[in-house]
Symmetry: none
DNA sequence: CATGAATGAGCGTTCATTCAT
DNA sequence: TATGAATGAACGCTCATTCAT
């Protein structure tokens, strides 16, 4: 992608090759980082896992942190794409929400370890790259904001407008929770149970109104 | 504390001194880790920040990771204690919940950077220490489990019994969210708004019943 | 050599280069260890003496102890080879013994400081490496066992069969003695005198019979 | 002993106490050094093993190497004394030799690990202390020189006068051999066999004459 | 384009020794 | 005399990065 070409200069001219090699790097690095974490993985190990020589790898990146950025960006992209897939213009707001939530939990189940990875290692990114990754996180969150707004517009979702952003974040966090609290949640719930319960929790809020006061009472 | 004395042996005999120096280490390390993170802080920097020589610091710990454990354990302890403070036997379940949630968000506001720290660095702990820290995290979560159960027993909270654990985790995560999503949330909400909205969200669930199906509809 | 490649892994792929650099390391290390001993030599000093950077040196070894092993093994190999050279199938047993003893003392004279080195530092080797070095020491000793047996078979050497092993060890020790007692012996004897006297001592035993009892009397 | 008091100054005035504490240090240190060697034993460990605090220990020594010296000197003294015990003016030369050799091997059997210790660690002593220890080694060797001379004078031992020193060293080395080659010798001989064979070897030489030429032939 | 040997600053950790109490 | 907490120079070793081939 062009943005990466700008954020991460390469010594190589052939854009095709860059794309291909970076894909290799991402795949190897994800495998390794999921196992050992970013800090405990050496550049040599990353290169070996990618099937590249260390010298060749460095033709396509500038620093080890670039690898982490590539990885985070890739996972985010996959996440975004798969969430976007579940959104259809033909559905009502609540219907879209229902489908996208299902998809969210499904995807979090399937990408559990890699989502956990970006969750834990984003902070190791250099300032500029981190800002980029966080902005992507916000974009993904915005998918849910738009769904909520759609539901508000078509009357299928009731929610205080100023809470839309927050609820979108809540949704995202409930998805990620499955990855970063799996050590505890996984002992008590399987993904289906988790999905059903969290959806009930969220959808209850959106259908009952979200017009409650701080005490949980419906405002009149 | 005795547990630390067992988990982290010291060369020093005087228990008082160990307690005092470790407190020094924790304070210095928190300051530094919040600024630079665990991995980018060197042992020499930690020692300097604590006002100890590197040699002296190592009389009170065994490895750099021990410092991280000390820090995590300390923050957890403070967290637990402050949450526990807000729990009174005299209140009804829902009342206790309301107070403890208020306290949760208040504490997360005040300890934001240090809670974020343990949140991000726990994974860098060695296996045995990490297990210990996670078990503490579960203990804290259990505070909310007990509150929810109390409310169920006195009829002030309605919730599916099998969802108690999950909701306790949801509560904890909503608290921590303020620290790890503050980069986004902080631009749109202040802590009071955040508190009020999240409490409304949670208390709505608990008072309306939690007897909804996966579509958010109240079961009949 | 293959055995070293297995005992001491290297990060470098080119076997030629490994051989060459390890030779460099051995030469520098012997020079240094002879001067200062193993413990007082730092890895940086070793590297400097070898003409390598510390990083480069560590591409060819894993630990400082590996250097010691390389050194011990090299000296042993040279020792073994030079002793083996003096053994010819065409000579009688006693003749072979005479020649090999001469060679032994000659070599001990020429390799005095380096033999002293392995003699003093072998004990600093890690368990597995030490076992290997000691087994090599036994192999070298076995050279003399075989010579004695040859002489027994062709009737030129008389010795109690059960003393063969011991006498082989005695021979080896008389060789090494020149290195580790040189501080005293060297003040009274030169190498030629030492050689002649020790040979007379040993050969006297082997020609007169070795059939004496514990009192030194010839058994009848 | 006075010599130690001069070689190793102490902060303490009371000579009795010095003697006693140093005995403590020697006993603890020998135990430790035999197990782990000098270099791998820390001063803290030595102090603990002696039942002294590190501070107290340092009141009676100046450096860690002093401990090694104390140990070497002590073992040497015991060795010397026990050898001296076996020498009686009433016996003939050959008789004295026979008894002292028996005692030598007996003592080497009993003090095997500690003799090995001084044998391996003497080289780690600082120059001046090492010279002192080596001079002690020579003194002990001189015991055998005197025995051999006695036998030459009373006609019970035949040996080339210029070989006396060498044979005394040979005797000493045959004694020490039991300690530093025990890893190999011990698999084939027990101490009694070793003693008998080595005595036969030595006594054969001394009774047959030692008047052989470099080829082992008796000179006419 | 690809390679991998070379580099050295910098890391975590140790431990002989001191000295205030 | 006895103590043990404090010290910091120095150690062995790592690893991201470079660059000659």
């Amino acid at each position: 992608m062009n943005k990466n070409s700008k954020l991460i200069p390469s010594m190589i001219k052939d854009q095709r090759l860059i794309e291909q090699r970076r894909q290799q790097i991402i795949e190897g690095a994800v495998r390794l980082f999921v196992q050992k974490g970013f800090h405990k993985s050496t550049t040599r190990e990353i290169a070996r896992e990618c099937g590249l020589s260390i010298g060749t790898m460095y033709e396509y990146i500038q620093t080890k942190e670039d690898v982490l950025y590539l990885v985070c960006d890739h996972i985010h992209s996959e996440l975004e794409q798969r969430l976007q897939e579940s959104v259809s213009d033909d559905d009502t707001g609540i219907e879209t929400l229902r489908k996208s939530l299902k998809q969210l939990f499904k995807v979090m189940g399937e990408m559990r370890t890699s989502v956990l990875l970006i969750y834990q290692e984003t902070k190791s990114l250099p300032k500029d790259k981190m800002a980029y990754v966080l902005s992507k996180e916000e974009e993904i969150t915005a998918i849910f904001e738009r769904i909520l707004e759609k539901g508000m517009n078509d009357g299928t979702i009731r929610i205080d407008p100023s809470s839309v952003k927050l609820m979108a974040h809540n949704i995202m966090v409930m998805g990620q929770m499955w990855t970063f609290r799996h050590w505890a949640l996984g002992r008590h719930y399987d993904l289906d149970e988790y999905t059903e319960r969290q959806m009930a929790f969220l959808l209850g809020e959106f259908t009952s109104g979200g017009n409650r006061d701080g005490n949980g009472n419906l405002s009149t």
